[in-house]
Amino acid sequence: MKRIVKSKEFAVFIVLLALMVFFSIASSQFMQSKNFFNIAKQIATVGICSVGFSFVLITGGIDLSLGYQISLDIVVTAVLMNNFGVHWIPACLIGMLLGTSIGLLNGFIIVKTHVAPLIVTLSMMTILKGISYLITGGLAIFKFNDAFVKLGQGTIGGVVPISLLFLVAIIAIGSFILNKTVYGRYFYAIGNNVEAAKLSGVNVQRVQMMAYSLCGLFTSIGALLLLARLNSAQSSTGNGYEFSCLTACVVGGVSSNGGKGTILGAIIGCMIVGVLENGLAIMNVNEYIQEVIKGVVLLAAVIYDTMSLMKNERVKKMKAINAEN
């Protein structure tokens, strides 16, 4: 019990509760169950993408191309379904394959050229944006197969959104990979000390490529749910998702400096971002002010993350003295 209370996830959870109390006092609409399922549907995509994103962050990388990966994934899937008449299941599989390939490409360039992940994925973002607009010409593609749309809009028994089930499944899979498999262990090892990991025989390049590929795969699953929910594909759809995911992860304690964090933390971070966006919208806060607030939240989270890292260094030194004495 003491361990739970002391954990970072618990602290983030308290922040989430505080936000919810605040919004329920500020607006009567917030505390309605309908609104909660709205939030759930909205955060399904950010949540699923954040699972992959946290893999990349834990290895010490970053993937800024995530937003336009979503755009390209949905545009390609939409074109396959509507223009080429491909059945929605194979179309989705192709979408997931595309997402994985983009992730793999990011990872491949990063490990082979040693260019900073920030730069590689920023360039990739622009490339993907360009390709996606080339395909759509800036126009929306809409109306898909009902069975497919149901994945994003439907509920089970009129209560639980189907997309929420996907989110839960991805959280379970992500946590399993991170905690129970050799890859999860290697993600943390590389993020903490890449040299020591390499000298312990870890195939650092392969593991890093793995992290980016998984990020691409999970992103494409989130993208497909988004496509189903919106029942429309536009090249601008994914814009800003990388920002939401980064904020969610960092707020939830996944360090932007690598090596630290949990899926649970990232998901609580997503809930905070989701509640914040939803609450501000319900309160009719000006859209541009919302942008400012989101930026401030990310900045504050990153500052807190880095400061606590520095404080840890000091605590570590003190602990070392204590341990020795």
């Binding site: 050799v182 943390y188 020591a196 195939n203 004495n325």
Partner: protein, 495 residues
């Protein structure tokens, strides 16, 4: 005046939550003396230094410098009063040049621009005083650990310190560098500088110091004139029990050769041919930069051969990365433990199973119980002192961290183990344990390659010593031929 008290600690205590780091310590230091301070890791030496340098505030007590009494010092005040410290952990900026590091914060300016020429010339003078040839323009990151330490020393002496505190300055240095440093200590002493010399190494305490103070468990134990005491007495006072810094005996029956190097070239070493046998400890001697660590990197596959071959059990090894070397049964305990040996923020369990993770998993899923068993086994057999295997490695002492490095390799059951400076920064008690483990491994038929800059250790532990000089083999010494002189002569390349 020489011989007067220049620095005095009055009833200094430092309390941390739950721990007393210093307990009512009284000490006095005389102007112009070399005063050695000895104690096991965690005896409170570092805390004491920090109190004098102003890095921490004592909980109780006062510090007196040149007759002026202070409740607490700040780093700035301490520096103004002439105190300079060379810490164990370097304070250098890797991307700056040696000269820029020496004058960091006190740059010599030429108008508003940095006067690099003057700084470099002054740095060169300092290096000449140290009898080392370091190019002042070279980036610190490109220097070896040994040379970085020398830049650190140059930086401290550039400030005309009255009281120079040296925290294990010789630990990363090699024989000639240590000799050069001794000379500098002697010269500074002749100039009237007071030197507080913290060290684990007995021979240098007797070589350098006028007086020696022993502290243990945060308490002052005794001060003696160095001439009036001896090694056994000091060790006894340090550990509070009988313990000799002896090298344990071992069956000296080396068996068949396991590893053969044939004209190995690359990574800065040239034409190295040697043989390592099962059951022996092969020492690698030489100066910093002689190519010992570089040779180890070639064997371990972290650097590539340009020519020559490495044979394992008579079969040629094609190693292009560490993974392959590890699979072939080679392990390396690296010199820089915190950077290369362990992952500080991960637990003992996670560190221990890092190399063998694939072996204890099925379809990439880790078998948790087996992981706990493997870690527990080595926690017991290596006597790692910890409340739990879930403890993060950063919370362990240096000796226990080194045991975790050992544990992770022993879990792979390697045939050849390379120890690069195995006991650096480790206290007397843990050192002894590491030696015993090395002997047990040799007795079990493993081949051990040991790189060491500690002469006593190299002589005490090795069955044979291969000496390198400037990347080439300077000679091979059998058990009977090993002596300080014979190693030094070959290391210096005199023959």
């Amino acid at each position: 005046m020489i011989g007067d008290t220049i620095l005095r600690l009055n009833h200094i205590s430092k309390l941390y939550p739950g721990v007393v780091a210093l307990d009512d310590v009284n000490m006095e230091f005389r102007e112009g003396e070399v005063h050695a301070i000895v104690g096991e890791n965690g005896a409170g030496k570092s805390t004491m230094i920090k109190a004098i340098s102003g890095a921490i505030e004592p909980s109780r007590g006062t510090i007196e410098i040149n007759g002026e009494v202070y409740d607490k010092l700040t780093p700035k005040l301490s520096r103004e009063k002439g105190v300079a410290v060379i810490y164990q952990e370097f304070t250098l900026v890797p991307v700056l040049s040696a000269a820029e590091n020496i004058f960091l914060g006190e740059y010599i300016l030429n108008g508003i621009a940095l006067d690099r020429k003057t700084m470099e010339a002054k740095a060169r003078e300092l290096f000449e005083r140290l009898h080392v040839s370091i190019d002042p323009k070279v980036k610190v990151a490109d220097l070896t650990t040994g040379f970085q330490q020398i830049v650190e020393i140059a930086k401290a002496i550039s400030k005309d310190a009255k009281i120079l505190i040296m925290d294990e300055p010789s630990a990363p240095l090699t024989i000639t560098e240590v000799e050069a440093m001794y000379e500098i200590v002697d010269r500074l002493k002749a100039e009237g500088v007071t030197i507080l010399y913290i060290s684990h190494r007995m021979e240098e305490i007797f070589r350098l110091s006028d007086r020696v103070t022993i502290i243990r468990d945060g308490r002052y134990i005794a001060t003696a004139n160095t001439d009036d005491t001896n090694k056994q007495q000091l060790i006894k006072l340090m550990v509070g029990r009988e313990l000799s810094e002896n090298y344990p005996e071992r069956d000296k029956t080396a068996k068949e050769p396991i590893l053969t190097l044939n004209k190995v070239t690359g990574n800065g070493v040239k034409n190295i041919s040697l043989e390592v046998k099962r059951g022996e400890v092969l020492g690698l001697g030489g100066l910093v930069g002689a190519g010992r660590t570089e040779l180890a990197q070639l064997i371990f596959g972290s650097e590539k051969l340009t020519s020559g071959e490495i044979l394992l059990d008579g079969k040629q090894l094609q190693i292009t990365n560490c993974r392959q070397a590890i699979e072939a049964g080679i392990a390396m305990i690296p010199e820089d433990r915190k950077r290369h040996g362990i992952i500080l923020d991960m637990s003992i369990r996670e560190n221990t199973t890092m190399p063998c993770l694939e072996r204890i998993s099925s379809h990439k899923v880790i078998r948790s119980q087996e992981e706990v068993n493997v870690t527990g086994k080595f926690e017991k057999s290596l006597r790692i002192k910890t409340p739990s295997i879930e403890q993060k490695v950063k919370n362990l002492s240096g000796g226990n961290q080194q045991k975790v490095v050992l544990a992770k390799w022993l879990a792979m059951d390697p045939e050849i183990i390379i120890f690069d400076e195995p006991t650096r920064g480790i206290d007397v008690g843990a050192k002894q344990e590491i030696y015993e483990i090395m002997n047990d491994l040799a007795n079990a038929g493993k081949a051990i390659i040991m790189i060491s800059s500690d002469m006593e250790e190299l002589i005490g532990m090795s069955d044979r010593v291969v000496v390198l000089c400037k990347g080439r083999m300077a000679g091979s010494l059998s058990r009977e031929e090993i002596s300080q002189e014979s190693i030094l002569v070959k290391a210096a390349g005199i023959e």
